[in-house]
Symmetry: C2
Subunit: 201 residues, 2 copies
């Protein structure tokens, strides 16, 4: 794994923080020699990452036991330099390489889905209509360890060389942030039911 | 290319709209039989997509002439159902398959970078310190047509079955939006220089 040294972060804490801050990731996997890049929700517990889907999912079937790359990226803003060449983006990205395995045990699957839910909406799992054995059988969960992962971060001002800095053009950063808006209640929710708590993820 | 029929959109307009709304994408490509998933900025002109980087980039070198999958995804929010099983995410995603080619001509490269810049910051290209031949030679631009592309969109309320709808838990959507914050000027920008115009992209 080579990377731009000035953008490399190697710490486990950095890798965990980016994975936890990204609401979803993309997974590169092979289907009949064709690379396929699929967006999916993921979650992290300790030093492993998890993702899930329908047992009918072609993506999950092809990924299990094969080499994949899971990449989670957060776009933090536009970096406007004095030259087109030095324009950039601020971002945080984690790449994780591995050979995912399928979680087979239904009780373990229920535990993992509970953590996934609770990490985002604390207290929600106990309020939900309980998961059924049929639903667990219809759900595939994949996991892989984070032992082959790396983080890359670009932050801060543009990197203009000194000779460009007097050029009369605006330069700087336009930060971009993701923001949750007001929750939109579904039809039929009984009166008096409270909206979910958010963890900030 | 199989996909969930209820989430499939096949129109060229839908594919273009998602590519234009996403600030960046992920590209799945092979490096020595290992799938790699790399985030990068992209832009679209007509029925082609473009991305770029350093001539030293391993990603661009490995992607040229090989099969890749470029996926651009916009996360639109959390979908909270009455059961864990029916929880979901609202999103818009486009997957584009192809074998990218390198743009060799420097004048053409300059034109393409100008469009990339102007699509996001109208009027900015003419204000910038002009691009040099050396910078153009140091920049690789890849392109592929959008003739093998598909869009998937999930929007709206949770899909709870009628028997779940009286369960006493909050259900609905928490929309998530990307928002540009106030621009942060770099040090050294001459007084009186105006901040860039935004196109909304």
């Amino acid at each position: 794994m080579r990377r731009l040294p000035e953008r490399g972060l190697y710490g486990e804490k950095d890798i965990h923080a980016v994975l936890d801050a990204a609401p979803f990731c993309h997974i590169a996997h092979l289907v009949d020699a064709q690379p396929v890049c699929t967006p999916t929700l993921h979650w992290r517990i300790g030093d492993r990452v998890y993702w899930h889907g329908s047992v009918a999912s072609r993506m999950l079937r092809h990924a299990a036991g094969a080499r994949v790359c899971l990449t989670a990226t957060i776009f933090d803003g536009w970096v406007l330099a004095r030259s087109a060449f030095n324009h950039s983006a601020n971002y945080r990205a984690v790449m994780c390489f591995g050979e995912p395995e399928i979680i087979e045990d239904d009780a373990r699957k229920a535990e993992l889905l509970e953590v996934f839910t609770e990490q985002r909406f604390p207290g929600r799992w106990a309020q939900l209509r309980p998961v059924t054995p049929k639903e667990l059988r219809a759900t595939t969960i994949l996991t892989m360890p984070l032992d082959l992962a790396s983080a890359k971060v670009r932050s801060g001002a543009p990197d203009d060389p000194p000779r460009d800095c007097s050029w009369p053009v605006w330069a700087g950063v336009i930060p971009v942030r993701s923001k949750a808006l007001r929750a939109e209640i579904a039809t039929g929710v009984p009166a008096g039911v409270k909206p979910p708590k958010r963890s900030g993820r």
